[in-house]
């Protein structure tokens, strides 16, 4: 019999609910995977890898601490309250801790469950935030609405977002954080530009015999339409046929990370169906965050064997664009760029999918690119999905530290593989006062410049 039980018997462990919570709680708590939580041996190896721990030095902001909190909540020694919620959401979800963890603790899925529990609990208690509901239930699941938002954003930007926000009173519902991040948004593709897209693009050189379904992503296609087109062009240059499957939807990652598991599952089903129908060899994406989610679809169907099977087949076909391009015969470039370039890993590409070398190889293969590795390239830039909106201050602290490392490389181009990171790096350049001296660019756009 262990000491823990002794301590409990002796009444030394005193935290915990004052009174017995309601009956819906135990079932909710069953969602926590106790086996995986216990697999954390509390060795602390993950602490130095965690950006929020490094910023604060606080155990509650560390992976080990968060797992302990989950254990506390799952065993009803801690309440699922606002503090717990805050602690679960202060995590970037960058999964650097998973790479560092020798015990193989699947932190990413643990924190998703924890957030799901938090959200369900809030619903049970009848308090959800309106804005959150709106975004997750009314916008992301509906491509046409997202498109509308894209169009709105486009118009807003054309007219000067700040001005519009003020005129319409939008500024009142759009928190400072969102407004600040909006200043980093690049020109958004106009609705008619997107309508002109060819549904199929044929290979430009000797065919590799591959039919690729491009996963366009929701935000990606809205704000980075050009990057999607560049990705498609790079793939056709590499001899692939590229199709844009019509019924595809948002990957569901944001839903999953934000504790909206059921919404995520619905989106996953839509995507699996869409790409099955398109009959493609590979599903290629250019956003590390989406890619990691797409590759995890099979984990989302634990108690649905039929869908799990379909998800496994789908997952087997998912590739990041860097990953696939590295496997195909080298691209032939026609221009020399003559720039010093550094690379910021996308957490969900590096830690989530283990894709680290491929983008670096691709960069080095571009004529005239001088590649310099940055210190801590695989630590999170603080963008982390919508983290830079939900936890703006922490995100900016992390970003400012990151920019010091960026500046030390003396590169003029900072390359990323994920739209969130790209926006964040643009913001970072502004904050560091380096606008005009340095540019942030998605790797697919850079490749396009040299093709």
């Amino acid at each position: 019999m262990g000491a823990l039980t002794n301590m409990l018997a002796a009444g030394t462990v005193t935290a915990g609910p004052e009174h017995c919570p309601d009956s819906s709680l135990p079932r909710l708590l069953d969602q926590f995977d106790m086996d995986e939580i216990l697999n954390c041996m509390q060795c602390g190896f993950c602490l130095p890898a965690c950006p929020t721990y490094r910023q604060t030095g606080k155990e509650s902001a560390s992976p080990r601490g968060r797992i302990a909190l989950m254990k506390g909540a799952a065993t009803e020694r801690l309440q699922i309250d606002e503090e717990f919620e805050h602690n679960m959401y202060l995590c970037l979800g960058c999964r650097a801790c998973e790479t560092a963890c020798p015990a193989g603790v699947p932190y990413g899925s643990l924190v998703e469950t924890a957030r799901d529990v938090v959200e369900t609990r809030k619903k049970q208690k009848g308090d959800t935030s309106l804005l959150r509901d709106l975004i997750f239930h009314e916008v992301f699941p509906h491509p046409e609405r997202l498109e509308l938002m894209g169009s709105l954003l486009w118009m807003a930007q054309a007219a000067g977002l700040q001005a519009l926000a003020q005129k319409t009173g939008l500024i009142k519902i759009m928190p400072r954080q969102a407004a600040e991040m909006a200043t980093a948004v690049q020109t958004i593709a106009s609705p008619w530009q997107r309508m002109k897209r060819e549904p199929v693009m044929e290979p430009e050189r000797e065919a590799a015999g591959l039919k690729i379904g491009l996963f366009t992503g929701c935000v990606m296609d809205m704000m980075f339409y050009e990057t999607n087109q560049a990705t498609a062009r790079a793939l056709t240059k590499a001899g692939c046929q590229v199709v844009f499957a019509k019924e595809q939807a948002c990957c569901g990652a944001l839903h999953a990370h934000a504790g909206e598991q059921s919404g995520a599952v619905e989106l996953a089903k839509r995507n699996i169906e869409a790409f099955e129908r398109a009959g493609v060899d590979f599903v290629v994406n250019n956003a590390g965050g989406c890619g990691a989610a797409l590759k995890e679809y099979h984990h989302w169907f634990h108690d649905d064997p039929v869908w799990k099977e379909r998800a496994m087949r789908f997952v087997g076909r998912v590739r990041d664009a860097n990953e696939l391009l590295a496997e195909l015969p080298p691209l032939s470039f026609s221009k020399e760029l003559n720039v010093r370039v550094t690379y910021q890993d996308s957490c969900h590409l590096a830690h989530g999918q283990g894709v680290r070398n491929q983008p670096r190889q691709l960069l080095k293969s571009i004529p005239g690119v001088e590649f310099v590795e940055m210190r801590g390239a695989d630590t999170c830039c603080g963008s982390a999905g919508i983290y830079n909106i939900t936890n703006f201050d922490m995100s900016m602290q992390i970003l400012d530290d990151k920019m010091v490392d960026v500046e030390n490389t003396k590169a003029t181009l900072i390359v990323t593989s994920n739209p969130g990171c790209l926006l964040q790096m643009k913001k970072g350049i502004q904050r560091a006062g380096m606008t005009g001296q340095m540019e942030a660019v998605h790797i697919m756009d850079l490749i396009e410049r040299a093709l």
């Binding site: 019999m1 301590m7 935290a15 602390g44 155990e59 015990a103 193989g104």
Partner: protein
Amino acid sequence: MEKELKSQLRQIVGERWFLDTPDELYVYSYDATPLYQAMPDAVVMPSSVEEIAAVLKIANQHRIPIVSRGSGTNLCGGTVPTEGGIVLVTNRLNGLQEIDEENLTATFGPGLITSELHQAVEARGLFYPPDPGSMRISTMGGNVAECAGGMRGLKYGVTKDYIMGLQAVLPNGEVLRFGGKNAKDVAGYDITKLLVGSEGTLAVVTEITAKLLPLPKAKQTMVAYFSDLTDAARTVQRVIAERIIPATMEFLDQATMRVVEEFARIGLPLDMKAMLLIEQDGDPLQVEQDMIRIAEIAHAERAVEVRTAQHAEEGAKLMAARRAALSALSRVKPTTILEDATVPRARLAEMVDQIGVIANKYSVPICTFGHAGDGNLHPTCMTDERDTEEIHRVEMAFGEIFEAAIKLGGTITGEHGVGIAKAPYLEWKVGAGGIDLMKRVKEAFDPHGIMNPGKMFAKDQRRRVVVKTHGCAHEHVGGGHGHSRA
């Protein structure tokens, strides 16, 4: 703890660095030691020696326990606040104040991470040898307080061999300095060395001056595989008997190799019963010669395969695998209990044998690895804290392992410290007289017993928490997972 006291503490360290909400307290209720947990009443994260002194004064006045804490990676329950009180986190005192290249010393705060010290001094061609497996996250304060060892212990010794000077705060708030940069110093009792390994039970260390060495010019790594455990142990003994002192001689048994391979995928031959990882550093020529001789000895002792790493990267990879051994073992089962029984190195083979016998007797799965050159073994048990019956058998087995170690002239802990986990066994090693003297030393520093209470010494009769638990008839002492000998 009263409101008034809390607000005083808040004033000392600042709002942001005083924590007392349920989640914040909960995450300081554990460390890397499985099975132990207790809640503190408050957590402070001071940024200066002055703040620490002020906190201690208040704590001493009101008899509130103080638990110093670095990164909480110790393996003896050393930072579990068994009697509540204040957890004092030192990680904000992490400045590296000076690297003195003339005196070959470094001076830094206790919150400095061990491997950051390594990097900083190595960048100047200098060397701080102690390298606990946890060095990427352990603090130097924690290393000092536990007298941490590591893989280079055989040739270079442990933390205490490098600590030259300390600044420490006594429980009454007095700030004192001991030792310094002098290579020789016999002015009075050696309090510096006494504080090393004192596990936060005497004072809070606030500044450390450590001795540095020149960075060895060359290093080579070798791995040898054996189809018999005792062959490996004999190889260790023979190498040293031949007057070769390698920097490192690490030992992994088959069960450990399997798990490490699963994690690191470095191509270990899993049909082998044991492997030795040997590293020698120094002058290139000497290193070369030593490695050749060690290989000969290993072959003579029936090593099946001996291989020298072709380049530094290959060597580093092998060593990294060894460093990950403990954590990798934890993949097997939810709860991993690791001990660190140590014997004089000539008794190594016997000890390894005994562990096997004891593991069988209690039918508990035990993997063994460790610092073979130091006779310091880490028998590690993979179990499940929810299986009370098995945990009970594990406790019995470890009790017997400690007993076996002592019979072989060894000790209950080589480098992880006593804490709560081994407090019940301390008397086996040092005797009643030893305990009594140690307690009087503690009283001299800490008359009110506020410094990390419940650690090192099993609680006295009055405070002892004896719990009878189901399926387990004997007594449990004060939260220790060991049983009392009586």
